[in-house]
Amino acid sequence: MTQMLIEAKGLARHYRISRHRILHALDGVDLGVARGATLGLVGESGSGKSTLGRTLVGLQKPSLGQVLFEGKDTAAPEPSFMARLRRERQIIFQDPSGALNPRMTIGATVVEHLRVQGWSRADAQSQAAAAIEQAGLATTFLSRYPHEISGGQRQRAVIARAISTDPAFIVADEPVSALDVSIRAQIMNLLHQLQRERGLTMLFISHDLSVVAHMCSDVAVMHLGRIVERAPRAALFKTPRHPYTGALLSAIPIPDPARERQRMRIILKGEVPNPANKPSGCSFHTRCPRATELCRSVDPPLRPIGTEHQIACHHPLE
């Protein structure tokens, strides 16, 4: 068994939205990311992807369950372990404009990030310069304000801030979704390169399965707060076993008119269920073409089907 750098055990996060209603954003998630691996996390909006990412880096506390870092519980850490956790776990957000203070220069933003972790001013400044160069920007960008640079450059600045503390684990929450196609490829290649050079462990959250295919060695699929399938990339894309994964893959438009027009597409009927009012049994049964009476009453647990492939389904695809 490979050593997991970060691990979720029975992780749940509930939000009370009115006196009698509770939204289960995370509903019992078990998930580990091995050191040096990049795990892709996909699913529709509202499936709990971002909540899981934020909980894994400690921006949110779980309602139930544990987050383990190097096998140690992160719930009530010793001060020295806490300091390390802050340094070792970083996050990159979707919208780089919202993630940067408009009234601070890029340099001041990165330096502040390091100063709160206890770096001296001089060390923080040289570290910020090194980080911005690794993110593919010239050091002259340190004196620029966010509005003075393009969206792709802003995302590089956010990446520079995240890698400046030399973290072991990064959550990248839709890091290229707000970017144009030609810029998206640049940022994907940068993340790939950083991951390889620094041996980073990454959780890569995206709703775009083509991007995930290029970034990740393993993929986990979320549906309404649960992991419903997890597999190495090739297995997940070539032989998906959960009907939801199958439908997600089939819904992606392929930029090739000849293939796109001949495809058999599974179009899901009905609505994405409301996370605050989840269906009984398997939460996908309302839209699933294979659902039976069993699915309406019994929620299938995530179980292994093969060495590295797990699914939560009563009637998997062949």
Partner: protein, 318 residues
Amino acid sequence: MTGEASTPLLKVENLLVAFGRAKAVDGISFDVAPGEMLGLVGESGCGKSTTALALMRLIRDAEIGGTAHLNGVELLGLDEAAMRARRGADIAMIFQDPGTALHPMIRVGDQIVEALTAHLNISHREARKRAIDLLRKVGIAAPEERFAVYPHEMSGGMCQRVVIAMAMACAPRLLLADEPTTALDVTVQAQILELLQGLVREEGMGVILITHDLGVVAGMTDRVAVMYAGAIVEMAATEELFARPLHPYTHGLLRSIPQLDSGWDEPVPTIPGSVQGAELQAGCRFAPRCAKASEVCRTPPALREIGENHFVSCWNTP
């Protein structure tokens, strides 16, 4: 289906939209045949939405030039009252974000009724009946009940269906769909695209589909116009454009899309640089990012036909 010899439904010539010194749309010409779907693609800021808004006459405080004939009527020269009579009746628009396209405090059914009674001389009772029919037509279950709900009570996909029902209410001849599925999940996107395609076939209206998603373009459109920094740089039948992209920008754009099922471990090809400031560039606006750029690119290239109905504006294309 290409823009055949029959009289076009819409004929746009030298459309120009300038906000001060910045020409957001710089003299573009294209046409749309009845029953044809034209894709308008390009990255953010290239002028695709501005083109649609100009055709709808929804832009104020800008210098607008050129002509746009819809069924022989010049839209850009109409006075506000005459335009108001056309808007919704002959030319309708679907916006990207259904959340903001609907009035949050008016029941969705009444919003459709308003669109109907504004243009058709029918009783409120008749309009209500037609609105319910429209809701049914766009795939909303129990339309009599859904007539009375507010937008916040519906999902994003449902709201977009209502927006489509409103746009279709008076059976317009031309539909402008501005990123109609960008804000939606892929599974819902597949539903909405299927709906749009069916409605368009049934009604035989002309459509301009604005999107940055080349996968959507590949599956939906008959013809594609690629925009870069306010100009159309290439225009051809969809299959022709994907099979034989001639402009270096189109070529780069197609290459930079990560493929779902191939080339996972290779770096994604990129287009260097960014579009920022391109509208102020003299000569070919793509030249600073173009590998083929040469001396001749200092003179702006014109859109010329170099194959049957295949237009490109590049000096260095054979």
